[in-house]
Structure formats: structure tokens, C-alpha cells
């Protein structure tokens, strides 16, 4: 989300169905990892994403890959079912 625009921590919280407390915890962790930085501008604090840091996070694509792996595993099973159905239809 903050990849698209810079937001204040409250601005981030407004977009999630989570308490401000939970959001501030997430932001704290991301800040500690260096994935986002907080900058004070006047009275407001803003979150900035550090995309180059994301690349450094060990295999940042790993979890994304897992989602697709689980989808494709299901697709494998579906294809086996479809194939045995096609074979049955042929032998009829």
C-alpha cells in the first residue's frame, strides 16, 4: 500500500481492519528490518518504503511462490481427474 503512496501510520491503519495498536506493531517490525523508514515532516510522521531493502530480505519471493505452488498442486490433481475422465470417455 505504501508502495503506491506515502502514508502516515494512521493512514495505513485506516486501510486495514486492524487496531491502530496492531498496525503500529507491524510498522515497528518493518522499521526494525529497514523495510520502511519513518520520517517526521512538521507535525506528521510518514512511512516510506525502502524497495531496495525488500530485495535484500532473504528470498522475498519465497512466500509468493508458496501460494502458486499450492495452487498448481491443486491444478495437478484436477488435471489427473480430467485426464482419467477423458480416458474413460474414450474407452466407452
Amino acid at each position: 500500500m505504501i508502495a503506491h503512496q506515502t502514508l502516515t501510520p494512521n493512514g495505513v491503519a485506516d486501510n486495514f481492519d486492524l487496531s491502530r495498536q496492531a498496525i503500529s506493531k507491524h510498522i515497528k517490525i518493518l522499521t526494525e528490518c529497514g523495510i520502511i523508514t519513518i520520517t517526521q515532516q512538521g507535525r506528521e510522521r510518514y512511512c516510506f518504503i525502502q524497495p531496495q531493502k525488500m530485495d535484500e530480505v532473504a528470498d522475498w519471493l519465497a512466500d509468493f511462490r508458496k501460494i502458486w505452488e499450492s495452487r498448481f498442486d491443486k491444478l495437478d490433481n484436477l488435471l489427473i481427474k480430467m485426464q482419467s475422465k477423458t480416458d474413460n470417455d474414450k474407452s466407452k
Binding site: M1, F64, W68, F72
Partner: protein, 162 residues
């Protein structure tokens, strides 16, 4: 050996590739991408159920899919279908409706390549508006991925405790 899922996202380029081979002829793999009742059986994530608002899968058609998490959160996606050439290619746009502003659309090209022994190679290329759009999309996926693996862990613990 199990077919490997490869994700390629080069640093600084607003593009993402997903490749995977299947032990099935491409006519079947193509159908699994193009028919609602088949798509529903695999496209939802681990802990998510999928609903199809509409899916008019033809050149000039459009689609809208909704993923629902176990906790009732909904994530909707929509796009228009630029080209459906059976059984080799689907080109369509993709937009996640949950972003604070509209217009962050990506272009997806799925290519189905026939391999020897009735196997198929799938390549999905996604071209985003910007590198941060791409990275944001991956990060959003990761949030769900984490929930997925947590749930799997829970299931494992449940089995161990029985």
C-alpha cells in the same frame, strides 16, 4: 520429481514471470484456466475460497474474481480479456480492487506450450505499471502466504496432538 514453480522478478524491472510444467496435454491445462467450474477448483489460495462474480472468457470479455479468507476478508480482482486463442494463449488485464486508488493495472499473458510426452509448459508474464506496483503485489501475496503457512502449521499441530 515434482514440477517446480519458478518465479522470476528481476530487480528494477516492472515484470514478473511464473513458470510451471504440467504432466497433462495443453488442451486440458488451457481448459483449467478458461472454464469457471475448473478454475474454481484450483485458483483459491490454501485458506481461501474463491467466488466468480463473472467470467466471460473470450476475446473482448471480462472477469471479476473474489477471494475470501477464513476470517471473512474479501479480496476482489477484475480485468478485461484481450485475447483468448485456444489452446495456446490468454492475454488479459488485472487490477486488485483493494488499493486506495484505481489505475494500478497489470497486463498478464499466459502462454501454454506443448511439450513431448503430453506435457505442457505454462508461462505467465505480468507487466506492472511500475516496479513498486509489482513489489506491492508480491508483498500483498506474501501476507496471505504467511496466513497459509500458519494454518498449515496449526493443522500439523492438531494432527500431532491427536
Amino acid at each position: 520429481m515434482k514440477n517446480q514453480t519458478k518465479i522470476i522478478a528481476e530487480k528494477g524491472i516492472q515484470e514478473l514471470f511464473i513458470t510451471r510444467e504440467f504432466n497433462a496435454p495443453r488442451e486440458l491445462v488451457f481448459r483449467a484456466f478458461n472454464e469457471s467450474e475448473l478454475l474454481l477448483q484450483w485458483l483459491g489460495g490454501c485458506d481461501m475460497t474463491m467466488k466468480i462474480d463473472h467470467f466471460d472468457s473470450r476475446t473482448g470479455g471480462s472477469y471479476r474474481f473474489i477471494h475470501c479468507t477464513a476470517t471473512g476478508q474479501e479480496f476482489s480482482f477484475n480485468g478485461v480479456i484481450h485475447d483468448v486463442t485456444a489452446p495456446e494463449r490468454i492475454i488479459r488485464t488485472f487490477e486488485f480492487e483493494g488499493l486506495p486508488e484505481r489505475g494500478h493495472v497489470s497486463l498478464e499473458t499466459a502462454t501454454f506450450e506443448a511439450l513431448p510426452d503430453n506435457r505442457t509448459k505454462l508461462t505467465i508474464q505480468s507487466v506492472f505499471k511500475s516496479v513498486s506496483d509489482r513489489d506491492g503485489m508480491v508483498a500483498a501475496g506474501v501476507e496471505h502466504g504467511v496466513t497459509d503457512s500458519h494454518q498449515r502449521l496449526d493443522e500439523l499441530f492438531e494432527r500431532l496432538l491427536k
